[in-house]
């Protein structure tokens, strides 16, 4: 049993972290917020240098792990570009990226981007997607869909899993920032980290973060095996949304008022995590869909 990404993927993720830092780090999302149309320009060179678009996550298990590591690093810096969605592009359609959408209100965080986007529903209906309105918060836009076919069931798993890796990177960073803050910030003559009430909140958040991490790895393995990929991707998504809720709530609480200010990175991470947590559907709808799919047989495991 191997529970870690392969060495090459791990190293690739670390290289990406350094490259995104050198390309501007936290300033990238701040620049993109004021001018969404420059999003692509801001990150095109660094992603190209990393060979991001040479990865074939649908064809090669090692590339799949490298893609996951890249998404995690992109999440760490709240990179203002849908790396996961680009990497999830289908192999049989001439599209630059793929977004899983709900049937009722298709949306995606592709505001300001000129790429050719596709959309897929959980039932496998594939469409071309173009934005129909001005860019909203965290680059979200409503999408106008033109149906292509209904052959996209096999595309859904990866397109659900990779954004969860982006969200995992955001949680990694939020925890790191919070630990640094509570070590530094003093109240009543001692660092916040000395208070057990603070320590215990931190552990609750870490249990969620580490639980998401191991489920995200499991989902990669499931994708490569190809048996119950969509069920497993939905289970991962449920865990990711729950974890993000706990982690961001704790991190905001422990940062105090400063965490809401744009001078702290947490404020940016928290806002830009929203599309990943709400689209294509939030906690309740994800759980409902998972429940419907599990029927009476349950999630694949020791006894099913």
């Amino acid at each position: 049993m191997i529970l870690e990404l392969c060495d090459d993927a791990g190293e690739y993720g670390r290289q990406a972290l350094r490259a995104f830092s050198a390309a501007g780090g936290d300033e990238l999302v701040q620049q993109a917020e004021t001018k969404p149309e420059v999003r692509e320009t801001l990150v095109a060179a660094v992603l190209s240098d990393l060979g991001a678009w040479d990865l074939e996550p649908r064809a090669d298990p090692n590339d799949l792990e490298a893609a996951a590591a890249l998404c995690r690093s992109a999440g760490y810096w709240a990179l203002p570009y849908p790396v996961a969605e680009r990497l999830a592009r289908p192999t049989d359609l001439d599209l630059d990226g793929l977004i899983v959408v709900s049937d009722s209100a298709p949306e995606g965080a592709i505001g300001g981007l000129a790429s050719r986007w596709g959309a897929v529903t959980l039932r496998g209906v594939r469409s071309r997607a173009v934005s129909t309105a001005a860019t909203g918060p965290a680059f979200t836009v409503a999408l106008d869909l033109t149906a292509i076919d209904t052959a996209g069931v096999g595309d859904v798993g990866l397109a659900l899993v990779l954004p969860c890796w982006t969200l995992l990177g955001m949680l990694d960073r939020a925890m790191e920032l919070t630990i640094a803050h509570i070590r530094l910030r003093k109240q009543f003559g001692q660092p916040l980290s000395a208070f057990q009430g603070v320590q215990f909140q931190l552990t609750d958040a870490e249990v969620e973060r580490s639980g998401l991490e191991i489920l995200a790895k499991h989902a990669l393995w499931s994708l490569a095996a190809g048996t119950t990929a969509v069920d497993d991707a939905l289970a991962l998504r449920l865990a990711a949304i729950e974890a993000a809720d706990v982690v961001f709530r704790v991190c905001h609480q422990l940062h105090g008022a400063i965490g809401f200010c744009d001078e702290t990175t947490l404020s940016w991470l928290s806002r830009y995590s929203q599309p990943l947590r709400r689209l294509p559907f939030g906690l309740s709808a994800t759980r409902d869909e998972l429940t419907r799919r599990l029927g009476r047989h349950g999630l694949a495991g020791l006894f099913s």
Partner: protein, 388 residues
Amino acid sequence: MDLDMGEAASSLRINLRRLVKEHVPADFLGAFTDNPADLEAAQRFCRILAERGLLCLAWPEEFGGRGASVWEQTVVREEMWAHHEPRGAQYMGVNWVGPTVMRYGTKEQQCQHLPPIARGEVIWCQGFSEPEAGSDLASLRTMAHRDGDGWLISGQKIWTSYATMAQWCFLRARTSKVGEGATQKKQQGLTIFLVPMNDPAIQVRPIRSMMGPHHLNEVFFDELRVTEADVLGPLDDGWSIVQDVLSFERVGIARYARCERMLVGAPAAMGERWELLPDELRGRWARMLMHCRRARLLAYQVVSLQSAGRIQPADAAGYRIAVTKLDQDSAEVLMEIISTVPRDDAATAYFRAEVEDHWRYSQSATVASGSIEMQRILLSRALLATGA
């Protein structure tokens, strides 16, 4: 990434499930009930495992084991706990008393204690907790006073599982007071004794509890005479031995396995009633299955670290927090599911009994074997020491 446990582990799982089906009564809810037949069934099952070399398969071959892989050991933990631990109290002897005796025991102690454990013939209890020493184990007050060439032990242990049926106790007592000689900290001056429970100087008082009989007891020691031959490991260094004991039990019981088996079994047990459950309740059921998977994978991560010799005390803490909460949360969901069925429904009688037993036992999950607060302290220390 590869989450396959391998062929040997898969075969073992199939074999264990077959043995459980053939030799464990269909209505079994664990060995520790008011019905003596349940304990007899567990003792019989242990002999069956022992005869097939499956009781101590993790032990080194020189001590009668098979040197099984950590994943085979994981399968045993999962299958036994999932099926209400049909080894009874044997897991304690097999999982940590035996390995500790192998590491610290004299030849005589190994010859005396290891064969009966390997045959599944002996029950051990653990004399650690005291009224004034719960999570703070080093504060124990049970004293062993020098008396000629031996000691006289007096004191009280509490929460001692299986003490009414155990033949031996893995007892920790203070042999040197803090401030005397080299003993400067309360973790020093502690010694492990292996003592027979049939000595008249030992009195056991069962404590009635919601967990059922035999789970909780008080044990009183009134000038129990022991000799050098009863001491395990170095005198005054019992703390190190216990830390080692705990390292054998990083993963502990595989609570997630029973949760998963019962959750997966719920639709079949409920029959047509399953579709009549509120959507919200079935949604919680699905969520619990995800949490079972999460806890199981976190357990595998701990096993993997331990196997690679890279484990730190805090590495298991996150898993322990996740799995103990899972135990309680899944018990709540299962209780709510079965509560929709009339109590006199014969078709769901065993499932109800399982669920109610699971719920009662799960209430102690965040207290037993290291409270959830201790796990949080361990984890937060590690996080604050190294960053996320």
